[in-house]
C-alpha cells in the first residue's frame, strides 16, 4: 500500500507488535468492516482513505460528498445513471377472476372528474410496458448494469455533507447493493444475508427493500457476494453519537468502526517530515500499490473462515451480558432511557454508570476486527502462542476502536470525569475489564476444565455471580457442544 499519509503515533500494542493508523485501515479492509474516519479538517483522514484506494487501483470509487448531489448524480458517477430514470408506473395489474389472466388497467378521469380504471388491450399493454421498461431499465438491464460495477472499495469524503437519500445509497453501496424503487439489487451476482447463528441465505434478485431492512433489524448482515467495503470521512463533532441525531444513528448503524484521527494525531517528527517534504495542502493519490486488493480479499476469506477462539467468545459475552448487569440484578437494556439515572447511588462512580452493553452487531464487529488485527500481528512476527495468550488484549483493542463512538458511553460522565475524552473513558473501562478477568481467571479455568470432564459442579457454577452470571449459561452451552 502506498503510504503518503504519515503517522507514527501508535494506536495499540498488540502481542508486542506496535500498530498504527494504517494498520487499523488494513484490518478493517481485511475484515470487510466499514470504517468511518472522523476528525478535524486537514487532519489527514482523506489522505488515509485515498491511500487505501491504492490496494484497488481499478476497483475503487471516490465520491466527494456534497449537499447538492442527488442520487441521480451518484448513480451517474457509478455508471448506473440509467437506473434512476425509472418513471412512475401507473399501470395496475389486475387478475381477471373469470379467466385467471393478468390484465393491465390505467386510471382515467371521465367528464365528471370521477376516476375509473380502463383496461388496455394486450397489445396496448405490451407496447406501453416495453416503452416504459426501455426507459427505466428492466430487471435484466439492472442485472447487467450492476454486475459491471467493479468497486471493491468505495471511499466517500465528507459523508456528512450528503443529503440523507444519497447517504442511504452510499451505505448500501458499502454493503454491496443499491436500492431502486424499493428493491435491493446486488453489486455483483447475489445479495447474501448472514444471520446471527452464522447461516447464510442468498436473497432473491431485486428483493423488496423493506425485507432487507427487517432482516437487518433482526441482526442479519446483508452484503454482496463480492468483496465490497466502504471508508467514509467527515468532521461531525462530538454530537454525532447522540441518538437524537439522524446522521449519528445512520453512522452507528452502518459503519462498523469509527476512529477519531485527531486522537491519534501524527507525532511532531511526522508533521516535520510532512511539512519539509511537501507543502501541497491537497490530498494526493498514491502510487499503485505493490500489494493488491486480491491479497486483501484472500486475507478476508482466511479471517472469516477461521474459528473464533473460545476466549474471544467469552470476552464478547462479557461485553454483551456482563456489562448489562446493574443494580444487583437489573438490566441496563431493559432500563432503556432510565439508565444511567436509575443506577443506585453507591454505584454511580463505577463502570455500571459509565457504559452500556454492546449490541450483537457490535460484538461481531469487535470479534472480526480482533481477528484482523491478530492476522496483521501474525504477519509481523507474533507467534500463534503469543496471539492466543493475548486474546483478551486483542479484543479490548478492537472494543476500543469499535465502541468508543458507538453511543455506549455515558456522555455526562465522560464530560465530567474524563474531560470529554471518550478514549480516556474507554481506557479506564478496559483497565477495569482486564482486572475483572484477572480476578476471575481461576473460576473460568475451573469452569472450562469442568466442562471438558463432562461434569457440572454447583460450587463452580455458583462462583459466577453478578455480572459474571452469563458464564453459567455459557458453560452449559459449551457442555452441550461437547456431548
Amino acid at each position: 500500500m502506498s503510504r503518503i499519509y504519515k503517522n507514527s503515533t501508535q494506536v495499540a500494542d498488540l502481542h508486542g507488535v506496535p500498530l498504527y493508523m494504517h494498520d487499523v485501515v488494513d484490518a478493517c479492509l481485511a475484515g470487510r468492516l466499514n470504517l468511518f474516519l472522523q476528525g478535524d479538517t486537514g487532519a489527514g483522514k482523506t489522505q488515509l482513505a485515498k491511500d487505501a484506494m491504492g490496494y484497488f487501483p481499478d476497483h475503487s470509487l471516490f465520491v466527494l460528498g456534497r449537499n447538492d448531489m442527488d442520487t441521480r448524480e451518484l448513480f451517474q458517477q457509478i455508471n448506473l445513471g440509467k437506473l434512476h430514470q425509472k418513471p412512475a408506473y401507473n399501470l395496475e395489474p389486475i387478475i381477471n377472476p373469470d379467466s385467471g389472466k393478468v390484465e393491465w388497467h390505467y386510471p382515467k378521469f371521465d367528464e365528471r372528474g370521477i376516476m375509473a380504471y380502463q383496461r388496455l388491450t394486450d397489445a396496448q399493454a405490451q407496447t406501453v410496458r416495453k416503452g416504459l421498461e426501455a426507459i427505466a431499465g428492466s430487471t435484466d438491464n439492472i442485472r447487467e448494469l450492476t454486475s459491471k460495477v467493479g468497486a471493491n472499495l468505495i471511499v466517500v469524503d465528507e459523508l456528512p455533507n450528503c443529503v440523507p437519500a444519497v447517504r442511504a445509497q452510499l451505505f448500501n453501496l458499502f454493503d454491496g447493493f443499491i436500492e431502486i424503487a424499493g428493491r435491493a439489487y446486488p453489486i455483483g451476482k447475489n445479495l447474501v444475508a448472514t444471520y446471527q447463528d452464522g447461516k447464510r441465505t442468498v436473497l432473491p434478485f431485486g428483493i423488496d427493500f423493506g425485507t432487507v431492512d427487517s432482516l437487518r433489524t433482526e441482526g442479519a448482515t446483508i452484503s454482496s457476494d463480492i468483496y465490497s467495503v466502504g471508508i467514509a470521512t467527515g468532521n461531525i463533532g462530538q454530537q454525532f453519537t447522540e441518538s437524537a441525531n439522524d446522521l449519528g444513528r445512520a453512522i452507528k448503524d452502518r459503519m462498523h468502526v469509527t476512529v477519531d484521527v485527531d486522537h491519534y494525531f501524527p507525532s511532531p517528527s511526522d508533521t516535520m517530515s510532512i511539512l519539509a517534504g511537501n507543502t501541497n495542502p491537497r490530498v494526493e493519490f498514491g502510487e499503485l500499490s505493490a500489494e493488491t486488493g486480491h491479497a486483501l480479499r484472500n486475507r478476508n476469506t482466511r479471517i472469516t473462515a477461521q474459528p473464533v477462539p473460545f476466549a474471544k467468545l467469552v470476552v464478547a459475552n462479557y461485553l454483551l451480558h456482563g456489562l448489562d448487569y446493574c443494580n444487583n440484578g437489573a438490566s441496563k437494556r431493559k432500563m432503556k432511557e432510565a439508565w444511567p439515572n436509575n443506577i443506585q447511588n453507591n454505584q454511580r462512580g463505577s463502570d455500571e454508570a459509565l457504559v452500556l452493553p454492546i449490541s450483537p452487531r457490535a460484538a461481531k464487529s469487535i470479534i472480526r476486527l480482533s481477528q484482523s488485527l491478530d492476522d496483521i500481528a501474525l504477519e509481523r512476527g507474533a507467534t500463534p502462542d503469543v496471539i492466543a495468550q493475548g486474546a483478551l488484549n486483542s479484543m479490548m483493542q478492537a472494543y476500543k476502536l469499535v465502541s468508543t463512538h458507538s453511543g455506549v458511553l455515558n456522555e455526562a460522565m465522560v464530560k465530567n470525569v474524563y474531560d470529554g475524552d471518550r478514549y480516556a473513558a474507554m481506557d479506564a473501562l478496559i483497565a477495569t475489564t482486564l482486572l475483572q478477568f484477572a480476578q476471575k481467571e481461576g473460576d473460568i479455568m475451573s469452569g472450562i476444565d469442568m466442562v471438558r470432564k463432562g461434569k457440572r459442579e454447583a460450587k463452580i457454577m455458583n462462583s459466577f455471580t453478578g455480572r459474571w452470571e452469563f458464564m453459567r449459561d455459557t458453560l452449559d452451552a459449551l457442555a452441550k457442544e461437547g456431548k
Binding site: D197, G198, P307, P309, F310, A311, L313, C326, N345, N346, Q347, R348, G349, S350, D351, E352, L354, D385, V386, A388, Q389, G390, A391, L392, V417, A424, A425, D427, A428, L429, I430, A431, T432, L434, L435, Q436, A438, Q439, E441, G442, D443, I444, M445, S446, I448, D449, M450, V451, R452, K453, K455, E457, K459, I460, S463, G466, R467, A477, L478, E481
Partner: protein
C-alpha cells in the same frame, strides 16, 4: 456453528483447575494490581483501583494525627444524606474526610505535587483540574459532605450551684493504620465563630486552619462564604455558579442529587 472446548485459557492449560478449585474450601480471590494508569471502579468495589485515588500524606495538627490516606478523585454516593453517605462508605470499607483532612487535601492539590494510589506522579493539570472541580465558582453545583457534626455541650466538671459554661463541640472520626475508625468528640479550638457571607479568604483558610480544619479567628476577608458551626448541624463544602462555601450549619437529613461524598481509605 460449533464451539470447540479449549484445553487452554489465554494460553494457560486448564487441566487440573477443577480439582484445585474443589479441593480449596474457600478460595480467596487473587490480589491483582491494575497495570493501566487509569481505570474506573468496577461495581460493588470488586478490586480497588488505586489509580483513582490520591495519596494524602500523613499529617499532625497538635494532638491530632492521621496516617497516609487514599482520597478518591471523584465524589460518589450522590443524592444521599449525611447519615446515608456514612452507611454507604462503611459498607465499601471507606470513610468521609473530616474538615481538617479536607483542608489538607486542598493544600495537597494546590501544591502541584501528588501521587496516585499506585505511586505514580499525577500531572499538574490534573491536580489543578481537581482543585477547580471542588472550589471553582461555576456551574454545575458540586457539593460534598464532610465528617463533622457539631453540638453545644457543657465543658468542665459539673458543680452544684454553679452554672457550667457551654462550648461548641465537634464530633469526627480518626482512622488507625488499618482503617479502623474511632469517633472523637471534643470542644472546638478557637475558630471564626461568626458567619461571613462573603466571605473568608480561601488561601488563608488553607494555610492556617485550626486543628479541626475551621478558619482561624483572624481569617481576612475573601470570596469563600462561611457559615459557622451550629448545634446539631453537620459540615459540607459547596461550589456553584454563585459562590463557593464552607457550610457548618447544614441539616444532616438534607439530600440532593448534586450532593455526594469523597471516599477516603487508610493506605494499607
Amino acid at each position: 456453528m460449533s464451539i470447540e472446548i479449549p484445553d487452554r485459557w489465554l494460553g494457560k492449560p486448564v487441566e487440573g483447575a477443577l480439582e484445585r478449585a474443589l479441593k480449596n474450601p474457600n478460595p480467596a480471590p487473587p490480589i491483582v494490581t491494575p497495570s493501566a494508569p487509569a481505570s474506573i471502579l468496577p461495581a460493588n468495589n470488586m478490586g480497588l483501583n488505586r489509580a483513582d485515588y490520591i495519596i494524602l500524606p500523613s499529617q499532625t495538627h497538635g494532638d491530632y494525627a492521621y496516617g497516609d490516606t487514599l482520597v478518591s478523585m471523584q465524589r460518589s454516593h450522590l443524592g444521599e444524606n449525611w447519615s446515608e453517605s456514612w452507611d454507604s462508605l462503611k459498607s465499601d470499607g471507606a470513610y468521609m474526610l473530616n474538615i481538617r483532612q479536607f483542608v489538607d487535601f486542598l493544600k495537597l492539590l494546590r501544591s502541584g505535587r501528588a501521587f496516585d494510589g499506585d505511586g505514580n506522579s499525577i500531572q499538574l493539570s490534573r491536580l489543578n483540574g481537581l482543585y477547580e472541580e471542588i472550589t471553582e465558582v461555576r456551574d454545575p453545583w458540586r457539593s460534598e459532605w464532610l465528617d463533622a457534626k457539631f453540638s453545644m455541650q457543657a465543658v468542665g466538671k459539673k458543680w452544684v450551684g454553679l452554672v457550667n459554661k457551654n462550648a461548641m463541640h465537634i464530633t469526627y472520626h480518626t482512622a488507625d493504620p488499618q482503617g479502623v475508625l474511632t469517633e472523637v468528640t471534643e470542644p472546638l479550638e478557637p475558630y471564626l465563630a461568626s458567619n461571613k457571607t462573603p466571605g473568608i479568604n480561601l488561601d488563608n483558610w488553607r494555610m492556617s486552619a485550626t486543628k479541626h480544619g475551621l478558619p482561624a479567628e483572624d481569617n481576612p476577608d475573601g470570596g469563600l462564604y462561611y457559615w459557622q458551626p451550629v448545634d446539631g448541624r453537620v459540615a459540607r463544602f459547596d461550589a456553584d455558579s454563585g459562590r463557593a462555601y464552607l457550610d457548618c450549619n447544614e441539616g444532616p437529613a438534607y439530600r440532593v442529587a448534586e450532593l455526594g461524598v469523597r471516599p477516603a481509605r487508610a493506605k494499607i
